[in-house]
């Protein structure tokens, strides 16, 4: 008992103090905070795989500025306070840059703290618009803001002839809100009449009443933006209630996960799914990255979060290399001039349209065809053609 107590006290002291940073001299430490436990753990594992694959690749090439890279990965247990404590620990260990966190709700306070601590933060997965709009000088985002998904879909819908009416159902989180705002504004401009717009709460598992209403309205297009875990149930219930529009679209999140194909089986056939990365995308090395990520995940299918985290790690290492130093302020300055081509796609942090330090990512539209995601838009990346459901 006494030994356990003293061991706990020791590890607490280590956790809270600087003492532990003395280990592993000569490596270049990159900090990361993500959710390895708690309700976001799936995505934390994806992030971890992306980080590790990137570090392996960089170290195989000799590291950065003659130093091997080392990942200091902190678990935030899907909890805001723990994320802030973890980030502070990394700052105390004098990391030049931190990557994280997974969820938007945790990332926003984290970004505020990092800007206070004057250490750059690279966001790899959180999509909330407000993270980079207005953002701050220390926050950089590799992944796209949520509106990219919606806008690329609406661009595509504009081009499909003969479709007039639409309904939209989104999650009631920040992501859903952004989708709803864009759909409400842009879809009428694209020639559609919006017959219904609704949100639903986390943990809701019965979508039948609202789907029944849509069925009675009989729209041409149905757009969903769900919580990650709900895409499959939503899709099955669409089939169950007999809702059959000409176009079904799912915006990223759960629809873009490999599990969607497995879980929804033929109920998901011909769904349009917007995402930013897919293994069939025509970026050099994409297929190879997919294979390496899958291996790092122990055979599990990687999601776009893994690829985004991989790119974030490359961007971090690249900035440290160009800064020629691990000084956070110099790394921050270097990040603003990032210009990388990765297997995830190009990475540059630009300030445009109200966004600050935001990478511009091309939204892909894929369609589930014979149980696989096939990229159908943009033309430069596409490998297939859109099939209307009826």
């Amino acid at each position: 008992m006494t030994r356990t107590v003293s061991r706990s006290l020791l590890s607490l002291a280590a956790a809270l103090s600087l003492a532990s940073s003395a280990s592993a001299q000569g490596t270049l430490k990159i900090g990361a905070v993500t959710s390895l436990s708690g309700r976001f753990a799936t995505f934390g594992q994806m992030q971890q795989a992306g980080f590790r694959v990137a570090i392996e690749e960089l170290n195989a090439k000799g590291g950065v500025n003659g130093q091997k890279l080392e990942l200091l990965l902190e678990d935030d247990a899907s909890d805001t306070n723990k994320a802030l404590t973890a980030a502070e620990k990394l700052v105390n260990q004098k990391v030049p840059v931190v990557i994280g966190a997974y969820a938007s709700g945790i990332t926003k306070p984290l970004s505020q703290y990092m800007s206070r601590a004057k250490v750059p933060l690279i966001v790899a997965t959180a999509v909330d618009e407000t993270i980079t709009k207005p953002g701050n000088a220390y926050t950089f985002r590799v992944n796209n803001q949520s509106s990219v998904y919606t806008r690329s879909l609406i661009d595509q819908l504009r081009k499909l002839a003969g479709l007039k009416t639409a309904v939209v159902l989104t999650s009631n989180d920040a992501f859903g809100k952004s989708v709803m705002t864009d759909v409400t504004k842009l879809l009428p401009a694209a020639g559609y009449t919006l017959l219904g717009k609704d949100t639903y709460d986390q943990g809701l598992t019965d979508f039948r009443p609202i789907l029944n209403r849509y069925k009675a309205q009989n729209p041409d297009v149905v757009i969903f933006a769900s919580y990650e875990q709900d895409a499959v149930a939503l899709t099955k219930q669409v089939k169950e209630v007999g809702l059959n529009p000409r176009v079904m679209a799912g915006i990223a999140t759960g629809f873009a996960l490999p599990d969607f194909l497995k879980g929804s089986a033929d109920a998901g056939e011909n769904f349009l799914v917007t995402m930013v990365w897919n293994q069939d995308v025509r970026y050099p090395g994409a297929q190879n990255l997919y294979t390496r990520l899958k291996k790092a995940l122990g055979g599990e299918e990687p999601s776009q979060h893994a690829a985004q985290s991989y790119a974030a790690m490359l961007a971090a290492a690249d900035a440290v290399r160009r800064a020629g130093s691990a000084d956070p302020e110099k790394v921050r300055a270097a990040l603003t001039t990032t210009n990388l081509s990765t297997a995830f796609g190009p990475v540059t942090f630009r300030t445009y349209g109200g966004y600050q330090n935001q990478n511009s990512v091309v939204g892909l539209i894929t369609q589930v065809q014979k149980g696989k995601f096939v990229t159908v838009f943009p033309a430069s990346a596409s490998r297939g053609k859109i099939i209307l459901r009826r």
Binding site: S11, G38, T80, E129
Partner: protein, 333 residues
């Protein structure tokens, strides 16, 4: 209502209590000297210590278990932030309010809510009140998510704030001492309640509600007063928490697990004691931090085991373990 449904009873009232409070204050005062680089941990821990203390005025002293305190916390955080934000402040106020006025208004709103909520629900006994707190908090959460003036699901960002008594509110040191002051305030109020007529009345109500009524005590009124004090302090804590976070959204601030966390801290620390909730909050934060580093993915599992162990082996909370002797001095069961 059977005897087994009697709520928790505070431990014996001994002078030891004041010394424990002073020791606790001393520990909090030296923390920045020892761990000056870990202020995030320090600030959030103290805020939750104060929240657990505030919870206990209702949960321990009045014996009414609330699982809806996240709503009161949210009222404090939202009111202050909305009133301090130029784009959000209602027009008739003529411009953003300083955060201290916002905090006071938030406390007043929380008091009002507690007054209405308590008056309506304290006619019910035992578990019914607890269930009502869950429902009220969940309804408030849905309103925050679905309204525009709350920032909806994207929540709010803290705007620039004026200096408070010369302190930069976004300086972690300043925040630490504000949180420290918040815990001391809750300690003082708890001590004061214990010595007041309210404290004795609450104790009488907890012991035997019908007996207390016979003595001329109005149990509902006593509980409502305790609820209002608890709500006011919780809203104050919410304002501090908003300053600390600088950005929050309903999905992280108003969820049931936050309410549960506050209640667990108080109960594990010892809902019958004066300082127990603060001690519980500090110990749970420390354990949470150690577990996070030592047990990796299993950290929340071990946390659950800890809760279960305390329930089984430390019925009066962690502080109860050290005051077993004092038990005899209390009123006999």
């Amino acid at each position: 209502m059977t005897a087994s449904v009697t709520p928790a009873r505070p431990r014996a009232l001994t002078f030891g209590n004041v010394w424990i409070s002073l020791a606790l204050i001393a520990v909090m005062a030296v923390y920045p000297l020892l761990f000056g680089k870990s202020m995030n941990f320090g600030v959030s821990t103290l805020i939750f210590a104060g929240l657990a203390m505030s919870w206990n005025l209702l949960g321990g002293w009045a014996g009414q278990t609330s699982l809806g305190h996240a709503a009161l916390l949210g009222i404090g955080a939202y009111t202050m932030t909305i009133l301090a934000t130029p784009e959000r402040v209602p027009a008739f106020l003529g411009g953003p309010l300083a955060p201290w006025w916002g905090a006071l208004i938030g406390m007043a709103l929380a008091a009002l809510l507690a007054l209405v909520w308590g008056s309506l629900t304290f006619r019910l006994r035992g578990s019914y009140f607890t269930l009502s707190t869950i429902a009220v908090a969940l309804v408030i959460r849905l309103v925050a998510i679905n309204s525009d003036w709350t920032g909806g699901s994207e929540g709010l960002f803290m705007p620039e704030l004026p200096r408070f008594l010369g302190l930069d509110l976004f300086d972690r040191q300043a925040e630490y001492w504000l949180a420290f002051a918040f815990v001391i305030l809750t300690l003082i109020i708890t001590h004061a309640v214990r010595r007041s007529r309210l404290g004795y009345a609450l104790q009488a109500v907890r012991e035997d509600e019908d007996g207390a009524r016979a003595l001329g005590i109005d149990p509902t009124r006593m509980k409502v007063i305790a609820f209002v004090i608890s709500a006011v302090l919780t809203a104050l804590g919410g304002s501090l928490y908003a300053i600390y976070l600088q950005a929050f959204e309903p999905h992280t601030l108003l969820e049931l697990p936050i309410s549960v966390q506050i209640a667990l801290m108080a109960i594990i620390g010892g809902r019958g004691s004066i300082q127990g909730p603060a001690i519980g909050a500090i110990l749970l934060a420390v354990f949470g931090e150690v577990f996070r580093t030592v047990f990796a993915n299993a950290n929340l599992l071990i946390y659950g085991v800890l809760i279960l162990a305390v329930t089984l082996y430390a019925p009066d909370g962690i502080t109860g373990l050290f005051t077993r002797g004092g038990r005899k001095l209390g009123t006999a069961r």
